[in-house]
Symmetry: C2
Subunit: 261 residues, 2 copies
């Protein structure tokens, strides 16, 4: 069913940063013929997956995606299960907790919980995070199949955010092996300065990671003791969320948490 997959891949071209596009644009980016793309878009539109502005003729994601999300979230409430776990995490650790899910080539923040104290790390909803420069991204990559890793960090030059950002894909790949064995990821000042991140992946039925749960600590108070406490809590949350969805976390996470308590 290659046709179906090609058609669905067109939907991947719509992102938070580029929510609408014209026909030629889409055809070009999808690497498909214009006529083919148009027929696919028409089919997608007939089923409500995309809709077209009557004047600008641009396409965007349609209302059907909202409908299906509603159905899935009503019967399998992932997001509503993640939020309470984050709230607990923020309270336990006294730092900002957040969850991010992989969205094609982006890692998007879908849940945030802040501690009740004056100083804390601030995060934005729906903000795309870089895979190679955040603890969440590393935790996700470490437990993803290597083809996916190649696609996401490839050998392109990686964006540099601070002087501590690792820009070499090979360096990152080395870290990933370590993270995979250890069960959790950490990053310090690699995306935002003065922030230490600690993250663990969450898994679905198929056993592959699809997101991460993380805590962002203000570097000023990131003592080894606090980091250890946070790591244990993050692992616990990731394991709980994964299990709540009927999946089983990678053994490395279980082992890591046991050794920390």
């Amino acid at each position: 069913m290659r046709t179906v997959e090609k058609a669905l891949k067109i939907l991947d071209l719509f992102t938070v940063g580029r929510p609408e596009a014209g026909l030629s644009d889409l055809a070009r980016q999808a690497g498909l013929d214009k006529a083919t793309t148009l027929r696919m878009l028409s089919s997608l539109a007939r089923q409500g997956f995309v809709e077209q502005h009557p004047e600008t003729k641009k396409y965007r994601l349609g209302k059907a995606v909202l409908r299906f999300a509603r159905i899935r979230e009503t019967s399998f409430p992932v997001l509503s299960m993640i939020q309470p776990a984050l709230d607990r995490l923020a309270e336990e650790t006294g730092e900002t907790a957040h969850a991010s899910l992989a969205s094609g080539a982006e890692l998007i923040t879908v849940g945030i919980a802040v501690p009740q104290r004056a100083t804390r790390v601030h995060l934005e909803f729906s903000e795309p995070l870089p895979f190679h420069a955040t603890a969440s991204g590393l935790a996700y990559l470490a437990f993803s199949p290597s083809e996916l890793v190649d696609e996401l960090i490839g050998n392109r030059p990686l964006s540099v955010y601070t002087e501590h950002t690792k820009a070499s894909a090979d360096d990152v790949r080395q870290d990933l092996a370590e993270i995979r064995a250890r069960g959790w990821a950490a990053s310090a000042n690699s995306y935002e300065i003065d922030v230490v991140g600690i993250a663990a992946p969450i898994f679905d039925w198929s056993g592959s990671a699809y997101g991460a749960i993380a805590v962002a600590i203000l570097a000023a108070r990131a003592t080894p003791e606090l980091q250890e406490k946070v790591t244990a809590a993050v692992l616990g949350a990731a394991i709980d969320v994964t299990r709540a969805m009927g999946a089983e976390p990678d053994p490395a996470l279980i082992k890591a948490r046991r050794s920390l308590t």
Copy 2:
């Protein structure tokens, strides 16, 4: 692109009331061959639109639908635009306001706002409403193409909820003509007793209805004066929401609201 459309129609088989199903089940309901269905499900699964439980082998909607909904709702916040309109509506009218969107063969409540008073109509989120027995359903049907109406209320025997429910599709169709000319719909005790509903459709770019905004009044206080006030407010909200989304409401709504103020 018939293949694409057939594949997407498979997704329609997943509903709030039946969120997962097996291969043979899906093939039978879709009217497709088992082999074909399997191939389509595999394609859908590869793109994350469905996922399969490793043990029961059942399929359900996948995480991709959440991702796309997130992208669409981030860049084009329909639901977040509807909610404030409902809040205003509930305050203005002193009754329960709600919005429902069409989801295939169901009309699903996606937003609720309750007034600040002791007695009020109670509604549930995600509850599927019958098209023929609620003001919201009638408002939606009245502004939908007749083929869709046939599909939704056909000539099947319609479910009866109270002694005031109209069970004949032809009776309903007559009401629809009236509603279309008038611009808004009302129902009294036809779904829940002691409840009067007043609803107006909301439209999208294509000019067809895709949902409704309604107020549910306690029958005990549904005086003609209140009903008139509510009708004007509901029309106003429906017009505002439609315009806020860049679409234009049916002229009947505009005319009706003008004649009420």
